[in-house]
Each structure stands twice: as structure tokens, then as C-alpha cells.
Amino acid sequence: MLIVAILGLGLILIGVPIAFALGVGGMAGIWLTGLPLQVSITRFFAGVDSFVFLAVPFYILAAEIMNRSGITTRLIRLASFFTGRFHGGTAYANVGSSVLFAGISGSAVADTSALGKFFINEMPREGYSKEYTGAVTVASAIIGPIIPPSGLAIIMAAVTGISVIDLFVAGVVPGLLIGGACLAIIFLHGRHGGLPKPKVEIAKKEIPLLVVEALLVALLPIVIVGGMIVGAFTATEGGGIAVAIASILGVFVFKELNLAGFWAAVSSAARMSASIYLLVACAAILSYALNLLGISNLVSSMAPMFESQPWLFLLSVMLLMLVLGMFLDIGAAIVIFAPLLMPLGDTLGIDPIQTSIIIILTLAVGLITPPVGVVLFIMMRIGEMKMLPLLKQLFPFLIAELLAILLLVFFPALSTWLPEFFR
């Protein structure tokens, strides 16, 4: 079993595409169990032949379409409308836009690329440093996969069997908490006039249209998440509805989505889905082999280490995910580690929803930590900035976000109360 784990991890670390590394490791594992290698084909297929997982491409597609349909600019103007009077107003608006955007997109990458370009032009003109702008943008971008809909929540649900809806609903409070942490840091910076006042002008006559458009955009998460809660449709069907609404808004209401843009959105969503699917299919081979080789016994033998202290376990999970998030793709980290950790949490009496949320949040923070932080890289590319100065500005935000996650470790209700309420 150790050989399999080392082989898989070794291949990943030298830079073999993660999916292939997992597949090769998995096949080695199947061979060790004494089952014919043929079995790996069945697992590869079964790993993604799932209705829950079918939700992934739809939410990716919905976000891609929205990025190209002018919804982003509406969100930013709406957020600016509320924060225009304050010092640091545009920084607040940046966070606010991220929270709003999180309600329609499932990924931090989408958030950064959609909102980043606007703010990196706007905020330095008002007097913010480029690096501070970048720090605010990425720190709040990670709310994207926390507030529903969330790509990470779907992957988590597919590999652990927890209800997608429960995970979606459970993400609302933690997402707002992370947003609050960012706002608090901005407040600390700006309270004595340390941050500039906004220059975004919103004319009075613009307001009614702004409100109407904002309501239309807000309609999307409300219809999707609400529809799932009342049982009108499943999470997968909700994804289809998100695609439909986003297309209709883009083509008929905001009139910014044309055929070429639509094709580009679908094509990019298809490629992204393919690589996620391949990753999960390959991981299915590996986890199948590890299970047969007895990894669950190994993991459950670790239970006494935590002396039935749930917080000790969750803290360890947080540390592990922080380290993993620094190196690994976070979807891959969920696929590989969540099924192993979840039963251990269960034996300690922890609500699997709490464990899931901690994993998702900590991994999301991994998106903005070096050395491998996808969102960090995107920001560096969009803003043409170096890593170190950006990290220096980002540091207080990171600390605040980790503190917010600690709150979730010690207060289970923050993640479990809302899903229970809607059940």
C-alpha cells in the first residue's frame, strides 16, 4: 500500500499530470491486490458514471457563460453603489462583488479572472497600490467555491455520498464569514483614512436600471438553491437551469453574449470538465485499490490519536489540507483525501458536513498560498506583479481567513445549523 501511495505521489511531484499519476498508481495497486488489471477499466468508468458528478460540467458552463455575458459589470456597479461613501470603498466593493459573484459561480478562478481585470485597472487609479488591489481581489475570490453553487462541494458530494444540497447550504455562513474577515482587514487599514475614497460615479438616474438588473442576477442563485431546497429539482438539474438562465440573461437581457462567445464558453467548459472527469476517473482506480489493500483499517487505527477530541482531529485536517493546498490541485486533494478522512471524523462523532466544509475552506485558502496557488498565479498574470510584494499585502488577509476557519472548527453550528434548518 505504501508503494502505491509513494508511486502516485512521486509521479505527481515530478510533474506528471495528476490524473495520469493517479491512474498509474491505481493500476499498480490493483495489480498488488491480485485482481486482474481489467478491473481498473470498470473502476475508471464507474468513477465518473454518476448522476451527482454530472452536475460539474453544468456549473462550470454556467459560470463561463456569465463571464461572457456582462453580468460581472452589473455586480461591480451594484456593490459600488453601497460602498461609495467610505474610505476604502472600492476595496469593500471588491469583496462585495466577490460575494455576489460567488452566488452565481462555483469557482475562485472564474471570480479572479472576471473581477480581477476590472479592479486592477480601477483601484490603482484611485490610489491603491497594485499589490494591495491584487491582495484584496484574491483574498475575496476564494469565496467563490464556498458560497453555493460550488464546484468543490459537488466533487465532495460525489466522492463522499453527502447530499450536494446540504453542502451547498452549509457553505453560506462560512462564505459570509470569510467575506467578513476580508472586510475587517480592509476596515483596519482604512479606518483613519488610510485608504482612498472611490471615484466610481453612479448617476441617480442609473439607479432604477441598476436595481432591476441586480435583481435579475440575484434571481439566479435564489432560483437554483431555492429550487433544490424545496425539492423542485436535483443539484444536477439545477446546473442545467443555471445554464439556461445565464444564457437567457446574456443573450436577451444584457445582450452581450453572441454566438462566438457562447461557443467559446461551451468549448472551454467542455475541456475543463474533461480534465476534472479524467482526474476523478483515475482517482477512482487508486482509491479502489487502496481500499482493497486495507487503507480504511489504517486510517481508523489513527482514531485513538485524537483521544475523542473532535477539535484536535479537525485541526489536524486543517493543517493537512493547508499543506496539500500548497502543492496539489484542490479538486484532486478532495478526491484523494476526503473519502479517507471522512469515516475517521464519523467515528469521532463529527458531522460530516462540518468536516467537508473545513476541508473545502482550507483548500480554498490553498488557492492563494505559494508555491502552487492557481488564483495567485492568475492575479500575478493579470496584474503583472511579482509574487513577494503581493504576498506581503496578502498576509493579513490570510491570517484573518485562517482565524475564520478556526471559528468553524470550534463552533460546528456555523456550518451545520443552516442545512439542518432546511432539512
Partner: protein, 160 residues
Amino acid sequence: MLSNIAKWLAKSCEVICTLLLIFVSLVNISQVVGRYFFGDSLPWGEEVMRFCMIWLMMLGSVACVYRAEHMAVDGLLNIVKVKYRRHMRSALYSVGAGFCLVLVFYGWDTAMSNRAQTAAASGIPMVFPYMAIPVGGGLVFIEIALSWFAGFSDSSEAQT
């Protein structure tokens, strides 16, 4: 010449994937619309969507090879001198080529031994979804092999 083939193969796969995703989205939307407005949804809808996604996964992976879009840890790649990077990347992807060979051989066997099995709701012979594995595995293998001679797409170079 070889780089044209690599590009053509990737683009064709990408177009098929895009059409597949449009189709799958339409089926998904029609499930909900059907249930609420016509009181009945397509019984085969879910199965067809799942099977299409298997094809999308395999064909999309071909395009992702060409664009070097498969998720990977790039640490080692960035240490290597720029002029060797292309070959380094090909070498790393070639581990995947070995994996693909297994997909081709055993996937073919699996597809063939399931000639007679039909899917529960749609009655589609299981050979159709299973065939995606050897066919897609073979195409990914070819795309990886071509990358040794033709490199990757231009946009992928910008990422390194």
C-alpha cells in the same frame, strides 16, 4: 506536417466535445421542463447524459493534452531550461501514454465483452459508452506521441 496533425486532431476532438456538452445541457434542461410542463421526463435522459460525458472526458482529454491543460505540479518543469521544457513536458505526459495503452487494450476487452449487455433505462448496448475508453485512450496516446515532434499549442507555452 506532424504539428498540423496534432493540431487538427485536438481541434476535432474539441469541436465534438463542445457539441456533446450542448447536447447534454439540452437533455438536462428538457428533464426539468418535461417533468413540470408535460408531467413526464425522458426515462433515458440520465443514462444518455452520463454516457455522453464519458465520451466528453476522453475526447476532451485529447484537446487538453495539446493545450497542456491537464492539471499538474509545474515545479520541476520551471527549473528546466526553456529550450528543453517542451521535451520535458512530453516526457512527463508520456507516463500518461503508458496509462493510455492499458486503457486501449483492457478497455477494448471490456467493451467487447459487454457487447450483449444493455443499459437499464435506455437499452443502449454498453459497448457504446465503454468504447470511449479504448478509442479515447488511443487518441490521447497519439496526441502525446505527436507532442514529441510537434510540441504543444502556442498558448500552452505562455503558461510555463
